[in-house]
Symmetry: D2
Subunit: 336 residues, 4 copies
Amino acid sequence: MIRVAIIGASGYTGAESIKIILQHSRAKLTYLTAIPAECGAVEDVFPQFRGRCDLRIEPLELGKLAELADVALCCLPHKVSMEFVPKLLNAGLKVIDFSADYRLKDASVYEKFYAVKHTDPDNLARAAFGLPELFREQIADADLVANPGCFPTGASLAIAPLLEEGLIEPDSIIVNSVTGASGAGKNPSVKFHFPNMNENLFAYGIGTHRHMPEMEQIASEIAGTEVRILFQPHVGSFDRGILSTVYSQPKEDISAERLLELYHDFYSSEPFVQVRREAPGLKDVVGTNYCHVFPTVVKGRVVCFSVIDNLVKGASGQAVQNMNILFGLKENLGLQ
Amino acid sequence: MIRVAIIGASGYTGAESIKIILQHSRAKLTYLTAIPAECGAVEDVFPQFRGRCDLRIEPLELGKLAELADVALCCLPHKVSMEFVPKLLNAGLKVIDFSADYRLKDASVYEKFYAVKHTDPDNLARAAFGLPELFREQIADADLVANPGCFPTGASLAIAPLLEEGLIEPDSIIVNSVTGASGAGKNPSVKFHFPNMNENLFAYGIGTHRHMPEMEQIASEIAGTEVRILFQPHVGSFDRGILSTVYSQPKEDISAERLLELYHDFYSSEPFVQVRREAPGLKDVVGTNYCHVFPTVVKGRVVCFSVIDNLVKGASGQAVQNMNILFGLKENLGLQ
Amino acid sequence: MIRVAIIGASGYTGAESIKIILQHSRAKLTYLTAIPAECGAVEDVFPQFRGRCDLRIEPLELGKLAELADVALCCLPHKVSMEFVPKLLNAGLKVIDFSADYRLKDASVYEKFYAVKHTDPDNLARAAFGLPELFREQIADADLVANPGCFPTGASLAIAPLLEEGLIEPDSIIVNSVTGASGAGKNPSVKFHFPNMNENLFAYGIGTHRHMPEMEQIASEIAGTEVRILFQPHVGSFDRGILSTVYSQPKEDISAERLLELYHDFYSSEPFVQVRREAPGLKDVVGTNYCHVFPTVVKGRVVCFSVIDNLVKGASGQAVQNMNILFGLKENLGLQ
Amino acid sequence: MIRVAIIGASGYTGAESIKIILQHSRAKLTYLTAIPAECGAVEDVFPQFRGRCDLRIEPLELGKLAELADVALCCLPHKVSMEFVPKLLNAGLKVIDFSADYRLKDASVYEKFYAVKHTDPDNLARAAFGLPELFREQIADADLVANPGCFPTGASLAIAPLLEEGLIEPDSIIVNSVTGASGAGKNPSVKFHFPNMNENLFAYGIGTHRHMPEMEQIASEIAGTEVRILFQPHVGSFDRGILSTVYSQPKEDISAERLLELYHDFYSSEPFVQVRREAPGLKDVVGTNYCHVFPTVVKGRVVCFSVIDNLVKGASGQAVQNMNILFGLKENLGLQ
């Protein structure tokens, strides 16, 4: 039985991680931590776990952590995470980190987009990028996995086959995404106040969203050449899910049927990626770790649609998928 | 042209009042005020008014108010309002107050439910209760109108015919209401954070909601005897509207057809109350100043359904209806 | 491994049953049936099961059923079900029936509310009523379980402790419920067309809802005396969940604290009923088999709130809970 | 007083047109028609008009129409409209047609996308295209106005300044739009059944949407050269509004500030187009005839955001704007 600690258990990805591990046949929750203001019995912090989990969320003690857990799902925010991850590793745990702190291999890009100096470059260099469908072999031997961002997960799976085959112009990609409001986290704000957000839809992070360089890093690594991506996120009045519509220019004419074949081949052995023959909807994947993709051709351009649940495949589910790999389990164990 | 000031124009009822007055053929906005932190061009505070209103929201100056306006729609919160209303009256304006401060005729009840001493008992005694369908004659001559609460408006219209006819047991009334989230106002909070409120529904104010004594006061006045009401509000994941389901025990058997006749007669000359023959839905009234009611009999009990838009008939629309009465205009002018 | 057939697998309760059984460690899906027009690969009928279930939904063949399955979850509609259940039983299976056909012990009440003659009175007489928290001992030995209606489940759990203790007047109960739109099933209609249902809320089934006699039967059995209930359902603009607010008149004064104790005692060993100390929300239970209840006292009346997921505790989850009992498994196996 | 007939009054654009004309100070409804199955008192067809409109919706009689009305808002569906419009014109009315039948100047394009022969080429040739901000001068003298599609309205206003100035590559435009579900009309369907549509989002009309050639026609006319547009619509779980995110490649580098100046100049005298300095949201325009646009530059590409209410500026509001022009009234009369 894998003993799992969740660091920063009081937020949405913490809750989703608790939910998933509670259903996992080979892993169990042993230690949940948060800042003191957000500690308490799990069932008080999250009423949906009443009767389902009798743990408490406690302030982190490293000695206790070392004793109680084999792996930490580290759900801390950006910048905070890199203060704690070295300690978690030193305590002897494997770590799957949900923040952006170990995703961007070029610390200068990190520092530009996150406006803070990177304080843990050694672990940054060693961290595996936890998108199993694209970088599975790196993950198996790692002790630190950088769990990808939600938008980069959906967008990268939508275009990876094109990039690996070198079929599209590397500076032609536009990723237009719409996410549910859970992506904003649990802190109340004017924008996400129900009477403002409900029945609404708007763009944000125009030209500045931090997932843009992450997408470019992934895409460039797959393509073996520098790829530039224009990423535009929007937020809509629903809880969960990301729909990405990805436009790109093929180098040569390609047919929709050829694209479908290519995608089927590329993902044929992937448990969590399903290639569709029509446009997928959010409800096809919400609550699951699946990504549905549909590639096609419109007026000579390639248009790919992908949907994921931002809290599952975009966060906690993918983390458990990575955990399964780290511990040599079947990759989809405990995931639906 | 009636010159209208809105005091506390930066909240939801302020915005709704602006919207209505902008369409009013005999009234115009002349002065909008708020606390300094919420001042600015209307189009910056409320982007939906870009191109529709070129006023600024400014800190209140009483001299300016006296000079610019004939009537004040006072959208201040409870407790704050009674500090300002005497000044507005002294400035020579008629005042329609949206707060609870002038609704409860018994100051001791006010002080119990609002936990503060009433500081303006003289005006409290003089204020008319602004529910025109039930107290129209008091309103016409008033210079201060207490605009009713949203829940009391819908619930009182649902049962007034029963009470006036003395048909129901005066201690048997249960008002079960569900309101949209705009009722909570514009300040972000954990409960109304979109990912919490969306797809959710819960009760609140159990046994303590401040609209309960207001309902009892209205009902007792209509019935001419003391009426006790059990009022239970809930909030659902929609923007606007209140559905009240009101249960009561008739003194003697009554038929559904007889009830419908009674209601038709009672409301036959009311422009804004429509008696239905089937259950009304929120969408039948949202965006309008109408109240739809449907009374019927189930297993010997009277069950009445009523729907209103909490921001229109439950607040700003009713205020304009009162304003029309105060100034001798057709009661539904500028209202839809 | 229990081999599970789902009869009528193409609707919402069919899909929810598939989802739950896929996660069950001691049961597996072996046979899925529907009318010919709704047959096909599960992943085509329900895209959310792509990669998760490779069965087909097929027209029912009784020989195949007898060979392949130990238990049938019968998700057929009212009236259709009683044609098939005898055949399923004759095929040697245990049956958990989701329809109303085996719930009402008095066939004349059934015939009045469902406007059709009951054609299987023998099995009706033998069927256990599958609300485990109240009738567990009857279920264990049954071969036919009538899975309760969604509204009766939530409402009955809300008031069972009061009824068993004889604390309330048996003709004073009012059940005011709001359900999500999935309760209406998957067939498109004018009322549930998105632009009509969204941001809407309305009552239906006024005085005629078929769950009213079912509630009365349960309540009367618990109370040991005839209980009359006024049940009023409403439907709101959300997918899942039922909130019931249940009003009743205590025979003698009772305190809120005493009520909480009573409920805690009554449900102390129940895995799926949680007694809360504040109003529960739908989101506390959606996606789970739990029922959260909160009893309190307002102005001398008892008011109880209960929330369930109508498709889980109100349908498929409760069916699996019953299946676990039938097969001697831990009652909450495979349920969250 | 302009006497207005609405032909096809029983759908969503009919209802929105009724609502707007009811508030118009210089126009009044005189005749409402629909197919027999959808006739009846307005207040029965649309409960929201109880007490607001006492007309009946009747089967169309041309003699009555000629006698009663000066202008027809023709809300019939595509293909049906061109059978009726010649008759409406012959009856001596001005006609504003909501369908696509008079929008595409090249009948062969119409026939390709609508799969039917055009039967009224003469009136097609004479019809003005009713997007006042771009083609105002043509409208004033017309007796037949083709009211634009909802998507083309929002998208065209988003890029018109770029096209007129010749700043972007004419084959580089991608229009990514998300509409609310009211765009699908009032007929129930599987896709728009509430439990399917709610909390969902998906693409449709991939490569085939009929608004694509309409956008290209408008854009080509403004640019004075052939423009090709890749248009991809999506539908989300909200009632009203369209957000279009429009990507294009500038011929030469251009700054965001320069773009804002250009747009401010272009739309400086337009009452209904507001140039924003940040991303607009649907709630900034829903319920109004306004279009908010925000142009900016990201990574060398021009990205423009526009929002409209699909039923107002995208349909009935724009029709009334056109009606005001046809009758020499102030263009924004009766519109908010």
